[in-house]
Each structure stands twice: as structure tokens, then as C-alpha cells.
């Protein structure tokens, strides 16, 4: 569904992504794992149009979307849940969700109900300022907000960052549920254990290059991966 060919991205004066090629098949959960500074976030930011790639191509289905502006990419059906959640703190939960659907002009009621069904906690806190939510709730809101754009692919940047293990487990359950409902997911994580257990396909990114790929299970049992990422 999403195909990345030889993507190179310069970020802050260095080449952060050095020719990455991979594919995200429709309906799957795909994960990129890797250490800090491996270029995971930059890859996602390039796909979302937030940074311009130096070279390489990004295709969504048959369409070349390389270098489109972020709003065009969102309207094509790719959405990003940014690292560190980035909810709008002074706006209510409901307003946050509505901003997620900013580019849509049709009725939002069904989707708001859908998100509230996925995250009943958000419904309870509908009129609260997002900044007053707990970390886990903010992550739920960030995911819900991204879903409001009715994405084909949802990209998630470190959804487990700074959350308690139990909360992380809950978030991953929801990711699987969202995937079951037909949304393709591209996930990047430092929490390799959780990510590999969830993913259908996984890639390992090291200093800007893909060094390994396979199903989540295969990588979980790989000695090198175990040593480097699972401890």
C-alpha cells in the first residue's frame, strides 16, 4: 500500500536516513525498530511531508506522493501521531478531535462516536482541557485525533514513550483493535519487545539504514535483535 524507495533525508545538516527501502502492505501492522538517532522519526516525518526528502520516492498505492505538503498528504489518507503526543493543551478533548478532522467537510458525528467507543475515557473527559489529562489519556487522544481524519494509514511515533507498562499494554491492545477495523499501521518504537509482539512485519533501522527485516516473530527470535534491542 505504501512503498518507500531508496529514501534519503538530510536533517539538521546530517544525512539521517541513508537510502531506506521498505513496504507497508495493506491491512498490516508494520514496525520500524531501532535505537535513538537511527532515523526512525525522520523517516516518518518525511512520509508525512513535514521534512522534504533529499532523494528517493514515496508511493501511496500507485500514486507518487514524494514532497507533497503535509495537508495534501493528510488528505490522501496518511496521518501521523507525533512523538510526545502533542495534544492541544488548552483546547477541550472534543475540540482536539475536531481539529483532527480539519480537512474533512462531511459530518463528524459517526467518527466522534467511533473514537469515543474505542476510548470511553475520552468520552468522560470530552469537555476537559486536553492538558489536564494523564499521559496515557493524552496518548489515547492523540490516536483518536489522528483517526478523525479517516486515515488509510496511521503512522505512530513512539506511542509508548514515557508511559507506565500497564498503560503501554492498553495502548497496544487498542492499536491492534484499530488495525482489525481496517486501518494499516506503521509504528516506530524503541520498546522493541512490545512492537515486535504486535507487528506483522518488522524492520530494524541502524544509523539511517535498514539492516534486517522479517515477521515480528522472526525478529523476536533473532539472536542479534535479542542482544541489541531486547536485552
Amino acid at each position: 500500500m505504501l512503498r518507500i524507495d531508496d529514501l534519503r533525508v538530510n536533517y539538521g545538516g546530517i544525512e539521517a536516513v541513508k537510502g531506506v527501502t521498505f513496504e507497508v502492505p495493506e491491512g498490516e501492522i508494520v514496525t520500524l525498530i531501532g535505537a535513538n538517532g537511527a532515523g526512525k522519526s525522520t523517516t516518518l516525518r518525511a512520509i508525512a511531508g513535514l521534512v522534504k526528502p533529499a532523494s528517493g520516492r514515496i508511493h501511496l498505492q500507485a500514486e507518487d506522493i514524494t514532497g507533497l505538503s503535509p495537508d495534501r498528504i493528510v488528505s490522501k489518507g496518511i496521518t501521523l501521531v507525533p512523538e510526545g503526543r502533542h495534544v492541544f493543551p488548552d483546547l477541550t478533548v472534543l475540540e482536539n478531535l475536531k481539529i483532527g478532522a480539519y480537512l474533512r467537510t462531511d459530518s463528524l458525528e459517526d467518527d466522534i462516536k467511533w473514537v469515543y467507543d474505542l476510548f470511553p475515557r475520552l468520552k468522560e473527559r470530552s469537555w476537559q482541557a486536553a492538558g489536564t489529562l494523564s499521559g496515557g489519556e493524552q496518548q489515547m487522544l492523540a490516536v483518536g485525533r489522528a483517526l478523525m481524519s479517516r486515515p488509510k494509514i496511521m503512522m505512530m511515533d513512539e506511542p509508548s514513550l514515557g508511559l507506565a507498562p500497564l498503560v503501554v499494554k492498553g495502548i497496544f491492545e487498542i492499536i491492534k483493535e484499530i488495525n482489525r477495523q481496517g486501518v494499516t499501521i506503521l509504528l516506530i518504537e524503541q520498546n522493541a519487545n512490545m512492537a515486535l509482539h504486535t507487528a506483522d512485519t518488522a524492520y530494524v533501522l541502524e544509523t539511517g539504514r535498514l539492516t534486517m527485516s522479517g515477521t515480528g516473530k522472526e525478529l523476536l527470535n533473532d539472536e542479534a535483535v535479542k542482544k541489541a534491542y531486547l536485552g
Binding site: 495537508d71 488548552d90 475540540e95 480537512l103 469537555w127
Partner: protein, 389 residues
């Protein structure tokens, strides 16, 4: 949904409030003596409210710290004045330059300032164009400066306002701007008082007119803020990264907010020219921008009603309530200490400092007037959420 229902009742209440205020202004104006300081406060307050709300749209709702408001007011004031000086008066007004380069006047096109349609259509059109000119200039300087953030944007817009002020005083533009002299003989608020055949005023509307224009403009701004555009502006204010990731085009929306804010600052400038009965570049200094910034901060950044309330309090305190501090006073033959010209500003500044100390987020914070009467649901739940964050 609940949201739309709330908006409808809100709009209805707003309409009722606007009608009540307008009626009250007309009644006051035709019952109290016209020399009362109250009317200076009402007229200037209406004008400043609009400018303060326009600044709040940009600084409070979009999070763009701009200090160009006086510059855009100047553009509006001059556009209005240049377009409304009656043709017959041009030689007198522009006597240093042997008449004006523009040989038409908007009210004259519709029958002159002495006819109702000439006055209303001419003035309305001139005010509209005043806003458009300000918005056009905003677009032009927005292209380079809106890339800047926070303090740098403030410096750039402040610089723009100073440059504009210098340009409008430039002798070479005299036939249009009247150089460093003021443009007079323009239609003012008092031109709208209805007179009988003997020239006696039978119905005063001189405070009603600025209120009407200001209320209409503020209503448009409020509708904008409550629309999906307004939500996008707030999203940009809160978090640019997330806003961009949600598909909000940052450059486009910042420009939109900047131009709309400047449009209404331009309208405010036109109204200020009407209030002052002239357009004069040296009035629109950075001090005026700071005055408006002060009002916005005191009222609450991100609160329209806060800006309006703060405007009237500010104008009333500076123009009316504290006047007595400027003149000597004797009680039982003893001269009250400190009272002399200029003491008013000392007391005024102290009051402002006290207000800022006790209302850290302004009088209203980011709440609106109706929010104060609405019980906040789930206060306890929110408190609990704060701790496990």
C-alpha cells in the same frame, strides 16, 4: 449535537445583548448632557475595543506576537480620510500642496456628506476600503515576516509600523497624504447626528455609530473564532508541530489571521480618524500599540469579552475617572498633597500593576463572559487527572 445547540443559543443571546447595548447608548446619548466625559469614553472605547479584539485574534487566538497594530490603524485612518474629504474642501485642507492629487470624494459620489445616503454610503464604503488597504499591506509584509517566530515577528511588525508612519509624513507624498499636516474636514461621528431644518440636533447618534460598526465587526471576528478556521488558529497557537501534522497549512492560516486582524485594525483606524476628526500620522505611534497590547493583556489573552471589558475600564480610567488627580484640590483650606498634572498617570500605572499582580492571566483569562455563568462540569475529575499525568 449539543455543540450546535449551544452555538445557536449563544448567537441569540449575543444578538439580544448587542441590541440592548445599542439601545442603551442611544438613550444615554439623548438624555445626558452631550458634554459628559462618558461619551468620550464610549466612543473611544468602542473604537479601541475593535482594535483590541483584532489584536487578540492574532496574538491571543493564533499565537502570533505582532506589534504592528498602530501601523495598520494608520493605513485605515489615512485611507478613510483621503477618500472622504469633500471635494469642495480639498483646497483648504491641502493648501500647502495646492490641492489634492485625488479629485473625488466617496460621499460626494453619492450626493455629498449633507445628504443621508451620501454620508452613510460614502462613509461605509470608505471604512470598508480602509480595512481592505490595511489587509493588503498585511498580505505584502506577511509574505516575508510571517516566517519569523515570537519576538522576531514582533520586532519586524513594529518596524513596519514605524516605517509606515515615516512614509505618510513624507513631503513627496503631500498631495495625497498632506505630508506632516493632518487631514481635516472629514465626516466624523457627530456628522451622523440627525438635525432638523434649523440645524438643531433632534437625535444624537454620534456614539451609536461607532458602537454599531464595532459590534458588527466584533461579531464577525467571534463567528470566525468559533468556526473551523478559528479552531485551526487555536491549534497553531497551541502546537505548530501537531497542527501541521493534522493537515493545517501553517503559512496559509497564519496569513489569513494576519490579514483579517489587520483588516479590522484598519477599520478601527478609520473609526479613530472619525473620533479624532482628523487623520494625523504622528498619533499612531508604538505607544498606541502598547496601549492596545496592555488592554489585551489586562482583559485576558484569548478572550474577546475580556478585551472589550478591559478597553472600557482602561479608557474610562485614563480619560475620565482619574481626571481629578490632575488638578489641585483644597479641603478645608489644606492643599491635598501630590495632586498635580501628571499624577493621574502615576496612579493609573500603579492600578495596572496591581491588576496584573492579582489577575495573572488577565481579568477573564481565556474565558468569555457567558462562561462565568455556566457551571463548569467535572471539576473534580479534572483535578484528579492532573496528578497522574
Amino acid at each position: 449535537m449539543i455543540q450546535t445547540k449551544k452555538n445557536k443559543t449563544g448567537a441569540f443571546l449575543g444578538l439580544v445583548a448587542a441590541v440592548v447595548v445599542l439601545a442603551l447608548v442611544v438613550v444615554l446619548e439623548n438624555t445626558l448632557p452631550s458634554t459628559s466625559q462618558l461619551f468620550i469614553v464610549l466612543k473611544k472605547g468602542a473604537v479601541y475595543s475593535l482594535v483590541a479584539v483584532s489584536m487578540n485574534l492574532l496574538n491571543g487566538f493564533t499565537g502570533l506576537f505582532s506589534l504592528g497594530q498602530a501601523g495598520f490603524m494608520l493605513l485605515g485612518a489615512y485611507t478613510y480620510a483621503i477618500l472622504t474629504v469633500p471635494v469642495a474642501q480639498k483646497d483648504t485642507v491641502y493648501y500647502l500642496y495646492g490641492g489634492s492629487a485625488l479629485n473625488f470624494s466617496l460621499p460626494d459620489l453619492f450626493g455629498g456628506v449633507d445628504t443621508p445616503q451620501g454620508l452613510i454610503l460614502g462613509v461605509a464604503l470608505a471604512i470598508l476600503l480602509a480595512g481592505c488597504v490595511a489587509a493588503l499591506f498585511a498580505w505584502l509584509i506577511g509574505l516575508p515576516v510571517l516566517r519569523l517566530k515570537s519576538d522576531y515577528l514582533a520586532i519586524a511588525t513594529l518596524g513596519f509600523a514605524e516605517i509606515i508612519r515615516a512614509i505618510f509624513q513624507w513631503q513627496a507624498l503631500g498631495p495625497v497624504t498632506n505630508g506632516a499636516n493632518m487631514i481635516t474636514q472629514i465626516p466624523t461621528f457627530t456628522s451622523f447626528n440627525i438635525k432638523n431644518a434649523d440645524g438643531e440636533v433632534i437625535l444624537r447618534l454620534s456614539a451609536f455609530v461607532p458602537f454599531l460598526v464595532a459590534i458588527l465587526c466584533i461579531a464577525v471576528i467571534v463567528m470566525l473564532i468559533n468556526s473551523s478556521y478559528g479552531r485551526a488558529f487555536k491549534a497553531i497557537r497551541e502546537d505548530e508541530i501537531a497542527a501541521e501534522a493534522m493537515g493545517i497549512n501553517l503559512a496559509k492560516h497564519k496569513m489569513l489571521s494576519f490579514c483579517i486582524s489587520s483588516f479590522f485594525a484598519g477599520v478601527g483606524g478609520a473609526l479613530f480618524a472619525m473620533y479624532a476628526s482628523n487623520a494625523q500620522a504622528k498619533v499612531y505611534t508604538s505607544t498606541m500599540t502598547y496601549e492596545i497590547l496592555l488592554i489585551v493583556v489586562i482583559g485576558g489573552i484569548g478572550s474577546v469579552s475580556g478585551s472589550c471589558i478591559a478597553t472600557f475600564l482602561y479608557v474610562a480610567a485614563s480619560e475620565w475617572w482619574l481626571r481629578f488627580l490632575d488638578s489641585e484640590m483644597w479641603i478645608f483650606g489644606v492643599k491635598v498633597p501630590f495632586l498635580r498634572t501628571g499624577f493621574r498617570m502615576v496612579v493609573f500605572s500603579i492600578i495596572i500593576m496591581i491588576v496584573v499582580l492579582f489577575f495573572r492571566r488577565g481579568l477573564m483569562g481565556d474565558k468569555e463572559l457567558p462562561d462565568l455563568f455556566r457551571p463548569r462540569p467535572k471539576k473534580t475529575a479534572r483535578k484528579a487527572g492532573e496528578h497522574n499525568g
